[in-house]
Amino acid sequence: MNVSDLKISEDLVLVSFLEHKDALLKTDRILFSFCGENTMVKADEVAQEIETFLLNQGVSKKIVRAFFSILIEGIQNVRLHGEPVTKYERNAFVIVGQKGDYFLTTANMVKIDQVEKITAKIKLLNQFNYNEVKEHYMNILTEGSMSKKGGAGLGLITLYSKSKNKLEFEFKPVDHEYSLFVLKTTLNTMSYEKNDLRRDA
């Protein structure tokens, strides 16, 4: 299916998914992709399969651990916090791949009134250095109250701190009620390798 064959209004999620995937196919390796209902994608299955695959490929345990964590937090986020909007055939997508570094792109629908809040949260995180993010983490841990869905607000912090990279994100308006939240987390492999080198020296 060609991206240009689809009108955005008809299926924004699929168009957005294919745009991301098309761009990736040129230079990247795709390890997993999914486009459909947010409640159908299972974080534990995806993360464990990719963990086994990467370990078999000889990728260092430290990098695999960090990426496993990114996959669990990112994909659980889609299931827990994505709005299970059923009026569209698809309401979420997940792409796991490698372009030099390993990355996870997720997309899920959120209510329009959440856009500002999520934007502020990520912008704040993206400014933090290691000490600041640690302090932020400890504050949330000590205050730690959980939502009914079992989320505690540590998910985005974990994505940011494990990836050692800024989180890339955008919102695509779906209709008057929902927006598609697209989030890309790229693991900064180099920083993990540097740590190893420093320790070995």
């Binding site: 496993f68 669990i72 659980q76 841990l141 730690g144 009914k148 505690a152 540590l154």
Partner: protein
Amino acid sequence: MRKMILEETRNTPQIILDPHHGSFKINGKSFPENSKKFYEPILDWFDQFDPPSNVKYIFEFELNYISSSSIISIFEILKKIGKICRNGAQVSILWKYEEDDEDIRKIGEDYMKLIDIPFDLEPSSVELVRK
């Protein structure tokens, strides 16, 4: 006090809370989709646990992955153990981690800073790091 035993699953740890045999362990990976729901009965168990003060209890944690929401839930458990300790029972925490697993070690260190109970960090096959 009844014991609570839960088998390990793909995304939840093995739970052993057995006062009769003095065995208290949480082992494995913890990344249930809904942490709150998974840990609720365990927290309830702790609410009912009222140990005698003449017995020493060690609560052992040996986890190799903890998701962010599980970090909060396990902290809730530690706070309950802290309360038991303040009520006069002799309790301590043993936090085990794989020697090269910085993440689990750091999580243990963070808890150690926040919880005021005897807390030992034990890397596998290395000497104990005591508080």
